[in-house]
Amino acid sequence: MYDTTYTRAKDASDAAKKMRAAEDGQFIAGGHTLLPTMKQRLAAPSDLIDISHIKGMADISVSRKDVTIGAAATHASVANHSKLMKVCPSLCELASHIGDPAVRNRGTIGGSIANNDPAADYPAAMVALGATIVTNKRKIRADRFFTGMFETSLKEDEVIKAVTFKAPKSGAYAKFPNPASRYAMAGVYVADHGKKDIRVGVTGASSGGVYRAKNMEKALAKDFSADAIDGCKVDEGDMLSDIHGSAAYRANLVKVMAKRAIAAAG
């Protein structure tokens, strides 16, 4: 690891200020993507600005159907939150399968979505849940937040404070893990928000990162059943292809995982 300067931010605006002052700064919360990268000498930020100690940043609140999850909430705290479990168990389930216990106890939802790894789980949930990403500057709809592989609409000094969403009527996430890394090779989050508002978030498979499978959403709005998406095409051309799976395999997995999520949500 190269030398770096570590500081803790008092609050979101302090974090943004520190970021502006840094030569090549990085926000850090759980650090479970950033630190391994730094240890491999593939990243060399001049400053690490720790936002995980900001007061309230790790809080999770559930008021009837309204859910707010602080950006520094760990995957383990999401997985085990009893009130969240009542209104949106599918998100708890998703969080309980991220990484391993060490990752779940350190990694955070804010870090995950800010990094927007194309194989991360949370982005699929965010778009399917119609979540809003709350920053120190503004509120961003999930659909507009994720802009491509490892890309988001965040500005350099913009800090995610929380994500908010309304719990869906029902939902489920089905993931096919990469056999080596156990990141998603295809992860599909299906959420039924009622009134024919169905959202399907797909992660892991596409070269463009997370996306909504609009054709499946349409089909499911008519008939919320696994068979309903039989006719929905998954374009192989958009899919990633690597040593773990061809584009055709990933396209197949998207369909299979979607069906499993629909069946589980149904």
């Binding site: 030398d3 000498r41 096919f176 773990h244 395999y249 997995l253």
Partner: protein
């Protein structure tokens, strides 16, 4: 046997320090004035070094030296050797290219060491290594063994025309061809055995100390055979004479073969410690470095055909193999695809005619050498995939085809050198089939089918060769060393016992099992026995641990030394008790005269040996005996593994529903440790069969170079194994032991692939059977 003797499930003594974090591995050792090494490695698979500019690096903070290959060879450090000479079938010796510990003119794989930086801290060394400016002329690389043989392929070494190291054969080709002419059926297969990365939990490490006043070196290193390391470092690499070099292999966290060899890093650290005039240099591989520098395993491609008569008896077996040996010949690389492989191609079967041709080739990849099983997994995979495929094509039950062809009389001379000394293959097969409830498989298949799943079952009746090896025999086959083992039993005046062994424990539990021999012999509690190994200053010359040899060879040496100790103790006791030597019995810590109440306590006899007050006339004082044991034959562990799988045709996900192992390891000293060895070996074999693959791109970059992409087997991938043993004693060594360290990794891959191909209904499946590969196979069909 007593509660701690032979056959007892004694808990592992060494685990207390391992599981409480008190193990002392090489990297845990620190000395005052210690510096750190960081290696500059080639980013290219094949290139000519144009220039190395280390000016900037030399001026960086903490740097005390930057050295390259020209300086190394200029100081007379010898090239890295291969310790086993193979001659091609035309009689010519193998075509070995030069391998300098630091590359001089060319680099031949990604990771090839080009220079080393020595600095006060690790961070300074790494930073300066990045500042060493190496300019390369990039050359075309060749990755696959078959491609390396093609006309116009990039050439790696001037010594090896067409990248061919040797073109070797075993068996009688004319007789085998004749046997095929009379065949009723011939079954043909193309088989690829995937390349693996060893992945010991502890990465390789070296701590080289130089004492300028004494001109003496001490090397702590991750070695399976510290004496061999000292010999080779001294005699071939000219680092220092043997008496000026102490090699210590302290606690070592797994080897699997990859820590047999003497790698460039150890050589360089020793040489550089003197050159840079520092007290000590430490280097420890990080995981990324381990992936691209630890010798890889396997990587064979073969064409095979087997001939059967009308009654389904095997008439002949013919194999053509190309083995990828990587960019350089590692220490035992030449023996793996020859005498450790082709000699096992008779399997458990009576086959009159076998011929195998092996071509080994250089490619721009990490050197390939021994990895758990070493040649024997490649042979078992070939034979047992062939048997299963033949059974399907001949439409006979796979168990029956095997039964029909089993060797049933011993000794049995195969047409490929080995003479099997003992075994009972049918008993293992029956035990495995019963444990697997083989008879009711079809019911289970139907149950799976109702859930939309494909269920399959497959078996593997493996044989392997351990207990390497009779020194004269391996010498005649080209080995540069003898493969005996040494032991010394040091009885202290108070009656406690130290076992000094040339074997090395790096996970095998020798501190427990070796002690059991003493407990068994004299009835002493295991806490009174200490096993000492891994230090050339403490222990007499020994050959180390690999090839499942420490039981059959290492423990045989201990038995021989114990015989001598027992003999002398009885003489002393007889003299003290005024009895005849033949009437003395040693049992439960007491030395008594048979049929009388005359006795001494064990420690009284030992004390008597050391006081020398009352010894038989002419006897030397003391109670310490050594022995060298040279095996009379290889040993032949064998068994039957059965794997049952369920395949999800939608995703290709394959779950192992059950895995049964019925092994014959001969005499077992500690069943718990043997079961652990089988569990670990089977897990590694399942890893090869379903997950692990060292995958290169066309430019020679290892793509699966981290755990993000290299799939290791994990606990939740594996079922609870059903393991059992049967026993035929090995007639060749005093205890009747055969060896158990590698069997699991040898026998399991064919069982797994036979099961999956049975589930999907055809053979068109590459290894590893990853979800993607299984899904694609289901999609493609036959």
């Amino acid at each position: 046997m007593g509660i701690e003797g032979i056959g007892a499930r004694v808990l592992r003594k060494e685990d207390k320090r391992f599981i409480t974090g008190q193990g002392r591995y090489t990297d845990d050792h620190k000395v005052a004035g210690m510096h750190y090494a960081a290696f500059v490695r080639s980013p290219h698979a094949h290139a000519k070094i144009k220039k190395i500019n280390s000016k900037a690096a030399n001026q960086m903070p903490g740097v005390v030296g930057v050295f390259d290959g020209k300086q190394l060879t200029g100081d007379g450090i010898g090239n890295i050797i291969c310790g086993w000479m193979i001659h091609s079938k035309d009689g010519s010796p193998m075509n070995m290219g030069a391998w300098s510990a630091l590359a001089t003119e060319y680099v031949r794989y990604v990771g090839d060491a080009v220079a080393v930086v020595i600095a006060e801290t690790l961070a300074e060394a790494k930073a300066a290594a990045e500042a060493v400016d190496v300019s390369y002329k990039v050359l075309k690389a060749v990755i696959n063994a078959e491609d390396a043989l093609k006309d116009g392929a990039p050439q790696l070494h001037p010594e090896a025309k067409n990248n061919t190291i040797f073109d070797w054969e075993i068996g009688d080709e004319a007789a085998t061809d004749a046997a095929f002419k009379g065949a009723a059926n011939v079954v043909e297969m193309d088989i690829r055995n995937n390349r693996l990365v060893p992945n010991a939990i502890e990465p390789r490490s070296a701590l080289a100390e130089y004492d300028a006043a004494e001109d003496h070196f001490t090397l702590h290193t991750t070695s399976q055979n510290p004496h061999v390391a000292r010999l080779v470092l001294s005699a071939f690499y000219q680092v220092a004479p043997e008496n000026k070099l102490r090699v210590i292999a302290p606690d070592v966290g797994g080897g699997f073969g990859s820590k047999i060899y003497i790698y460039p890093e150890e050589i360089v650290c020793l040489w550089a410690a003197k050159k840079a005039r520092v007290k000590a240099i430490k280097w420890t591989a990080d995981r990324s470095e381990a992936f691209i520098t630890d010798a890889h395993g396997r990587d064979h491609v073969s064409k095979a055909k087997m001939a059967f008569d009308a009654d389904n008896r095997i008439l002949g077996f013919k194999i053509d193999t190309i083995a990828n040996i990587g960019a350089y010949m590692s220490l035992f690389s030449s023996s793996v695809p020859t005498y450790l492989y082709a000699t096992l191609l008779s399997g458990q079967y009576n086959i009159a005619n076998i011929h195998c041709n092996v071509r080994t080739v250089y490619t721009n990849t990490v050197p390939v050498d021994v990895y758990r099983g070493a040649g024997r997994p490649e042979a078992a995979f070939l034979v047992e995939r062939m048997m299963e495929t033949a059974a399907r094509q001949l439409d006979v039950d796979p168990a029956e085809l095997r039964r029909l062809n089993f060797v049933r009389e011993f000794p049995h001379q195969t047409p490929v050198i080995f003479c099997y000394d003992a075994g009972d293959y049918e008993t293992s097969l029956n035990a495995a089939m019963e444990a697997a409830d083989y008879a009711n498989f079809e019911k289970r298949r139907k149950r799976s089918a109702r859930k939309g799943k494909l269920r399959g079952i497959g078996m593997s009746c493996y044989i392997e060769a351990c207990g390497i090896a009779p020194s004269a025999a391996v010498g005649s086959l080209g080995a540069g060393v003898g493969l005996w083992e040494s032991a010394e039993i040091r009885v202290n005046p108070v009656g406690t016992v130290e076992i000094l062994t040339g074997s090395h424990s790096h996970g095998q539990g020798h501190e427990t099992t070796f002690g059991q021999l003493v407990s068994d012999r004299f009835g002493l509690p295991s806490e009174n026995v200490q096993v000492i190994h891994g230090d050339t200053d403490k222990v007499q010359f020994g050959m180390g641990t690999y090839g499942s040899r420490s039981g059959a060879v290492g423990m045989s040496a201990i038995e021989k030394a114990l015989d001598k100790v027992e003999d002398k103790a009885k003489k002393i006791a007889a003299h003290m008790l005024e009895a005849s030597e033949g009437d003395i019995e040693i049992k439960d810590g007491e030395v008594s005269v048979k049929g009388t109440d005359k006795k001494l306590l064990w420690h009284e006899v030992c004390l008597g040996a050391y006081t020398g007050h009352n010894l038989p006339e002419g006897m030397e004082p003391g109670l310490k005996e050594g022995a060298f044991y040279d095996p009379t034959n290889f040993t032949f562990p064998a068994g039957c593994y059965i794997c049952e799988v369920e395949v999800d045709p939608d995703t290709g996900t394959t779950t192992i529903e059950q895995f049964v192992a019925a092994d014959d390891f001969g005499k077992i000293i500690n069943p718990m440790i043997v079961e652990g060895q089988v569990h670990g070996g089977v897990a590694q074999g399942i890893g090869q069969a379903m997950m692990e693959n060292a995958e290169y791109d066309d430019s020679g970059q290892l793509i699966s170079a981290s755990y993000m992409d290299y799939t290791m087997p994990r606990a939740d991938d594996l079922p609870s194994f059903k393991v059992s043993t049967t026993e035929t004693l090995c007639p060749g060594n005093p205890l009747g032991m055969k060896g158990c360290g590698e069997a699991g990794a040898i026998g399991s891959p064919p069982a797994v692939i036979n099961a999956i191909t049975n589930a999907i209904g055809h053979n068109n499946l590459p290894m590893p059977a990853s979800p993607h590969n299984v899904w694609a196979a289901v999609q493609a069909g036959e």
